[in-house]
């Protein structure tokens, strides 16, 4: 057991010491564990039961389909039923369980990998794609297996478990939220990947883009995750371990210090009040919003309500969820962003995957093409607006005509509520996300027609620099300090100022305390970020003088090189 280090991109700070738990890539939570020989027959039975459950399920679905007489679909289900009954899945995994004494999930996954690899070699594109049917069937069986109540307890204490994954999908992220792992490390990803967002939301260290962590690290190996430096240490020696235990304690003390500024009013040295708002995904995030004393919710991402489910949430369900958030925030602002689906967040409403989803039919484009779906959400948001201070935020606008269409649909939703004699806030404010470069360049026109602007820096950077943020081969080019990005942000802030409209940033840049002073100097007064970032940004605000920062920011805006910008930023942070 020799010790070695691997380097990646740190996306969430902190230090974790624990044991590695490897999870298989796309397929939810498949863990490998050994079972004793005498448990083999039981494990085989468990698999048989899962397969027969899935079969019953599919037969049920097929029966329901026949009423709607979609022959195409029914043939599809037939294929799945046949795959299920195929010797390759009904028998081979059982052999693997008994040969390797491993759990049923792992055996199934192993067999699937063999089959998928065979499909990959087929030249016929159409038949090659059938591997997806195989994957879907396996996922179905896995879900039944994983949901089994008698699942053995194979993990160490969660708080000392470090998850090692290839990548974490949005759906996985939601699942992991319910756990208390010590850290996440992944082969793929960048600073705005879902792994990163998840880790920050759980306030645990995380390192991504490690390339081949999954093949280098073995299950249950002792590892240290240094999220402050982007280093993973595998099998650390005793003195390194002790050194890190000290560092971990110091980090904890630093965090405690931050908690002392919680109740201080958030204003600068020259007495200017700054609003630090929170980004949330689910109502459960409110606890952390309150704990960190956010002055409101600057971004409520609603697409997570649409994920991990078969049917779309109806108006009543959405309304109840929005209302619960609005009511628990009392009279503080709650900005609800309409469905921002598409791209990497797949929902049941949008199942076709285009080759370039970030530029495809998503967000407001999807909503305008599905007016019924949009109307349900608008009505639910409007109804919630009666219970507090709600604002609507429209994602991914790219033209004024989209904005006008959206406003028209909001008008219609209002009218339908009036007809139904349901109460709502008739003066509800409508804002737009500034994330398409075309809109940032043209920010004045949008500022005139919107009530507020919210800059989504993650997508703005991705679109401006043409960097796919999920592709780790180009993620090093993703640079929030690119002069063009700063210019677009500046243009937007100035446009808001000119027309007296609030401008906020709700992307990752708002929560990066290294950038707080720069943004204050550029005139930003509303920052919306993950609740866990609020206190470190607040610490910066408390030490800033906006008047003095203006000239420094102006100088930075004139700088042509990112490197020089970084040096200047280091200087103002000293």
């Amino acid at each position: 057991m020799s010790s070695f280090n691997i380097h990646g991109v740190s996306v969430s700070n902190g230090i974790a010491i624990g044991k590695a738990l490897l999870i298989s890539n796309a397929l939810l939570e498949v863990f490998h564990y050994q079972i004793s020989r005498d448990k083999v027959p039981n494990e085989i039975k468990r698999l048989s039961r899962a397969i027969s459950d899935v079969k019953k399920d599919l037969v049920k679905i097929k029966k329901r389909l026949q009423k709607d007489s979609s022959e195409e679909f029914s043939a599809f289900i037939d294929t799945h039923l046949m795959i299920l009954a195929d010797n390759n899945f009904s028998e081979k995994p059982k052999q693997i369980i008994s040969d390797d004494s491993c759990n049923a999930e792992w055996a199934l996954k192993k067999q699937m990998d063999i089959i998928v690899a065979k499909f990959e070699q087929i030249k016929d594109e159409y038949i090659k794609e059938r591997k997806n049917d195989v994957i879907q069937v396996v996922e179905r069986i896995l879900k039944v297996l994983l949901g089994h109540p008698n699942q053995p307890n194979y993990i160490n204490d969660e708080s000392s478990t470090i998850l090692v994954a290839h990548d974490i999908s949005p759906a996985d992220a939601l699942q992991f939220k319910k756990h208390k792992y010590a850290a996440f490390i992944t082969d793929m990803g960048g600073s705005t990947s879902h792994t990163a967002i998840l880790a920050r939301s759980l306030n645990i260290p995380s390192i991504v883009a490690l390339q081949n962590a999954r093949s280098l690290i073995k299950n249950n190996e002792k590892i240290i995750v240094d999220g402050n430096q982007g280093i993973v240490i595998i099998n650390p020696s005793q003195d390194i371990l002790e050194e890190y235990q000290v560092r971990q304690n110091l980090w904890g003390i630093e965090q405690q210090k931050l908690s002392k500024i919680k109740n201080i009013t958030c204003k600068t040295l020259n007495n200017e009040k700054i609003e630090l708002l929170a980004n949330i995904e689910v109502p459960g995030d409110i606890t952390s919003v309150k704990e960190n004393r956010a002055s409101g919710i600057g971004l409520f991402r609603t697409e997570f309500l649409f994920m991990n489910r078969k049917e779309l949430p109806n108006e009543e369900e959405q309304f109840e969820i929005y209302k619960s958030v609005v009511k628990s925030m009392k009279n503080k602002t709650v900005v609800i962003r309409t469905l921002d689906s598409g791209a990497d967040k797949l929902t049941s409403a949008d199942t076709t995957i285009s080759s370039n989803p970030a530029l495809g039919l998503r967000a407001i484009r999807l909503c305008l093409s599905e007016p019924q779906l949009f109307n349900i959400q608008l009505r639910a948001i409007l109804r919630a607006s009666h219970f507090g201070l709600v604002k609507i935020l429209i994602p991914m606008l790219s033209s004024l005509s989209e904005l006008r269409q959206t406003k028209l649909l909001i008008q219609r939703a209002k009218k339908s509520l009036s007809n139904d004699k349901i109460l709502y806030d008739n003066y509800i404010k409508i804002g737009g996300m500034i994330e398409v470069p075309a809109v940032a360049i043209n920010a004045e026109a949008f500022a005139q027609e919107l009530d507020f602007l919210s800059i989504g820096t993650n997508d703005l950077i991705q679109y401006t620099l043409a960097i796919d943020r999920t592709d780790d081969r180009v993620s090093h080019l993703y640079n929030s300090l690119h002069p063009a990005i700063l210019k677009l942000i500046n243009t937007t802030i100035k446009a808001g100022k000119k027309y007296n409209k609030e401008v906020s940033i709700c992307g990752e840049m708002a929560g990066d305390s290294k950038l707080t002073k720069l943004l204050l100097g550029m005139g930003l007064r509303y920052f919306s970020m993950h609740p866990s970032r609020i206190l470190s940004v607040k610490k910066q605000v408390l030490n800033s003088n906006t008047q003095k920062l203006e000239s420094v920011s102006a100088k930075i805006l004139k700088t042509k090189e990112s490197e020089n910008i970084e040096t200047l930023i280091q200087k103002i942070n000293q």
Partner: protein
């Protein structure tokens, strides 16, 4: 055991739907049934093995059946293939 050579004539070859029809039919017989393309020999009762044979239009395959109803098996499968798997093209 009997064996017969036959050409795949439908447009898409042994794609998902054709494969599933063939497998479904094969499963109704007691005989062991195999499809052979070049040196690959697969179980006709396994949808995945049939798919992975990737037999496109104009491929010549052999059907091999072994059992009590081998004659009828070959006859029916032959008919299905000649009938464009009931897909009309």
């Amino acid at each position: 055991m009997i064996k017969k050579k036959i050409k795949i004539i439908n447009k898409l070859g042994l794609h998902a739907r054709a494969s599933s029809k063939l497998t479904q039919l094969a499963c109704t017989f007691n005989s062991e049934i195999f499809l052979i393309k070049d040196e690959n020999k697969v179980n006709a009762k396994s949808i995945m093995e049939v798919l992975m044979l990737a037999a496109s239009k104009n491929t010549i395959i052999s059907i091999e059946a072994n059992g009590s109803d081998e004659k009828k098996a070959i006859y029916d499968i032959d008919k299905l293939i000649l009938n464009y798997f009931g897909e009309g093209e």
